[in-house]
């Protein structure tokens, strides 16, 4: 009874005209100018740096090294806009190769850990075997280990076996570093699938392998996508792992390595550096904008990556 009474009072009070603030339909208070101004200020601070980079990448070498990018914004018609910087970095430098190398590294380094983790998550969630709890605990517990702990011993193994500078070597390295997180995310999802699903599949004569590929994987797409985007961006943007295990030679160097080496060698060639930086950002930005929804989920779960 009290509840009903409360609701009635609430409705009655709500019906009164609001006193201080204007309200939107959803009951929220409308934003005042101070709020709008501060939001605008933050948005500007978060976009202008990237904006400046983008604008500079379309200005020629004289302009970009002698005047600020904003002068071109204020007088867009007096500026000579050019695509030349992109042409130069993509044709004469190692940047095109680096772009391809980034793809060679990133795609398998995303698919391999997802595959291994999905199999493992299914095994841990739906199979009974000796050592299950212990192995799962170890796997997820490894989330706490920063990858710096692996560098020295792994480098020695890699130098001993000739894996340094090979794509297989870096695929496996990213796989190892990404696996605890991948298992953590996928286990959370796969263990929640309804049990009846598997039982009916087994009754129909499916083997666990078939049940896994035909049922579990398609149903786990949201979790797989979350991790895939997270890992894709992580690997694409990685610098340290590539620097240590893949190196800087031009036939294997990825975009971040190439970009850093341009900073070192031609740091004053602003027009080329900006174009190169933008080339390195295009793919992650597209992936990110297209799949933002999945990314937010992965971000929440992925916040624990060591």
């Amino acid at each position: 009874m009290t509840v009903v009474a409360n609701e009635e009072t609430a409705t009655r009070i709500e019906a009164k005209p609001p006193k201080k603030h204007k309200r939107r339909k959803d009951g929220m208070v409308k934003a005042g100018w101070l709020v709008r101004l501060s939001v605008l200020l933050v948005v500007l601070m978060w976009t202008l740096p990237t904006m400046g980079l983008l604008i500079n990448s379309f200005r020629d070498s004289v302009d970009s090294s002698s005047t600020g990018w904003w002068t071109s914004v204020f007088s867009p018609f007096a500026t000579e806009w050019t695509m030349g910087n992109y042409e130069t970095v993509l044709t004469s430098g190692g940047l095109f190769d680096a772009l391809i190398n980034s793809l060679i590294v990133t795609i398998p380094a995303t698919v391999i850990p997802i595959t291994l983790a999905a199999f493992a998550a299914y095994g841990f969630a739906w199979m009974r075997f000796r050592g299950r709890g212990l192995l799962f605990g170890i796997l997820v517990g490894l989330l706490v280990v920063p990858l710096q702990l692996s560098l020295v011993p792994l480098l020695q193994v890699y130098q001993g076996t000739g894996l340094t500078g090979s794509f297989v070597g870096i695929w496996l390295a990213h796989t190892g570093f990404g696996l605890p997180l991948a298992v953590f995310i996928l286990y959370g999802f796969i263990s929640q699938l309804p049990q009846d699903l598997f039982e009916s599949a087994y009754i129909d004569g499916a083997s666990p392998f078939t049940a896994f590929t035909k049922l579990v994987l398609p149903l786990s797409v949201p979790a797989l996508a979350s991790f895939a985007i997270f890992q894709f961006l992580w690997v694409w943007n990685d610098f340290l792992v590539a620097l240590v295990f893949l190196g800087t030679s031009s036939d294997v160097a990825v975009l971040t390595i190439e970009l850093a080496s341009i900073v070192g060698s031609r740091g004053e060639a602003y027009h080329l550096l900006t174009a190169a930086a933008f080339v390195s950002m295009v793919i992650p930005l597209v992936v990110f904008l297209a799949l933002q929804r999945y990314f937010v989920r992965g971000l929440l779960a992925g916040s624990v990556k060591g």
């Binding site: 409308k30 380094a109 299914y122 020295v152 340290l240 971000l299």
Partner: protein
């Protein structure tokens, strides 16, 4: 089941395995063979290699699992059932064993044993904690840790709280969120331009110095002060460390904002509505109801950024290379590894990093579980 059919299945399994391994072996050999691509134009050759490599990597892992399963199912039934779980979990265990467990143990052991003749087990640690350079790095890590997570969380929280009331909410959020897709190296380049410095008298091309000189000029005209010189933000000690921390904050606020914004939207509207009816102001609602309700999310965001900050490497390595007193433990570790080839010191620094990260990580994972995310 007749012996005949078992034999047939074994033969088939054997064939699948041989073909898989042969294909992988041949493919990888082909890829690393410099002569194979010689006749082609450079672009074509690069693209061909890329296609082969990606197919090998992606199809290879599936082929291996398929081959493994074929062998497994060819075995006698009892063995199949006993071994099946291990086909699913062991590959992952093996990879983390090689890439995380073995090296971590190796790092810890090396940090104690890789010492000069006759020195004690703790040699590397006493060395590290008495070396003024390392102490400087530790101090810098501490400054980063004190500033970056707190500021990112506060900006993210305030922005999430404010933007909630604005029409173009999702657009405004996208702008702040976007740096999350940018690499630390890319961000370092972006900010090098913001911090760019030209000698006094020349036109400034970095926006920060342009604003700085312009504002200083106005103040000088008003007679408040005597005009300001452009600042080399990345070279001037101690300003440069804060300039670098700003880059990290710029990268992390989006993460804080997204997580906190989701949490704020999860606060039951009955709560805030009731407070509003009781006459609470928007500020009171925000500080007394919203913030206490999203404590868990605040902790996750704070600890996550703290961990990222402790391991910070790229930003410093690319901008200053650790010069001008900006170096931190992770940069120092890289230099010990590659410049000085001092693996004892490098592993010691890694262990110090681990010891610093573990407590934060434990809080983080515990709290994540409480929030019901993940396992």
């Amino acid at each position: 089941m007749t012996a005949d059919r078992v034999g047939l299945r074994m033969a088939r399994a054997f064939l699948v395995v041989v073909v898989t391994f042969a294909a992988l072996w041949f493919g990888l050999g082909f890829l690393s063979d410099p002569v194979a691509f010689e006749g082609m134009a450079p672009t074509v050759s690069k693209l061909t290699q890329a296609v082969i490599a990606i197919i090998l990597g992606v199809a290879g892992i599936w082929a291996l699992f398929y081959a493994g399963n074929t062998i497994l199912e060819a075995l006698p039934r009892r063995a199949t059932e006993t071994l099946r779980p291990y086909l699913f979990v062991m590959p992952a265990i093996a990879v983390v064993g090689l890439y995380l467990i073995y090296p971590t143990a190796g790092t810890v052991v090396t940090s104690f044993t890789d010492v000069p003749e006759g020195a004690g087990l703790l040699h590397n640690y006493t060395e590290a904690f008495t070396n003024p350079d390392v102490l400087l790095n530790l101090r810098n890590n501490l400054i980063w840790l004190l500033i970056a997570p707190a500021v990112s969380v506060v900006i993210g929280l305030v922005f999430a709280g404010l933007v909630d009331r604005i029409k173009l909410e999702s657009l405004a959020k996208s702008f702040v969120f976007m740096p999350l897709a940018i690499s630390f190296v890319g961000a370092a380049v972006i900010w090098k331009f913001v911090y760019a410095w030209k000698p006094e008298g020349q036109e400034q091309i970095g926006i920060l110095n342009a604003i700085w000189v312009w504002a200083g000029g106005i103040l000088a005209d008003l007679g408040v002060l005597q005009g300001v010189e452009p600042v080399a933000w990345l070279q001037k000690i101690p300003m440069n460390t804060f300039a670098l921390i700003a880059i990290m904050i710029w990268l992390q606020v989006g993460f804080a904002m997204v997580v906190l914004s989701a949490a704020i939207k999860g606060v039951p509207s009955e709560l805030t509505e009731a407070a509003r009816i009781d006459g609470a102001s928007e500020q009171q609602i925000f500080f007394r109801i919203t913030i206490p309700s999203i404590r868990g999310a605040l902790l996750v965001v704070y600890t996550t950024i703290a961990i990222a900050v402790l391991k910070v490497f790229d930003i410093i390595f690319v901008t200053t290379g650790g010069n001008f007193d900006t170096s931190v433990v992770a940069v120092r570790m890289y230099q010990e590894m590659f410049r000085f080839r001092n693996f004892g010191q490098a592993t010691t620094l890694a262990v110090i990093l681990l010891v610093a990260v573990i407590p934060i990580m434990v809080v983080n994972i515990r709290n994540l579980r409480r929030q019901g995310i993940g396992a």
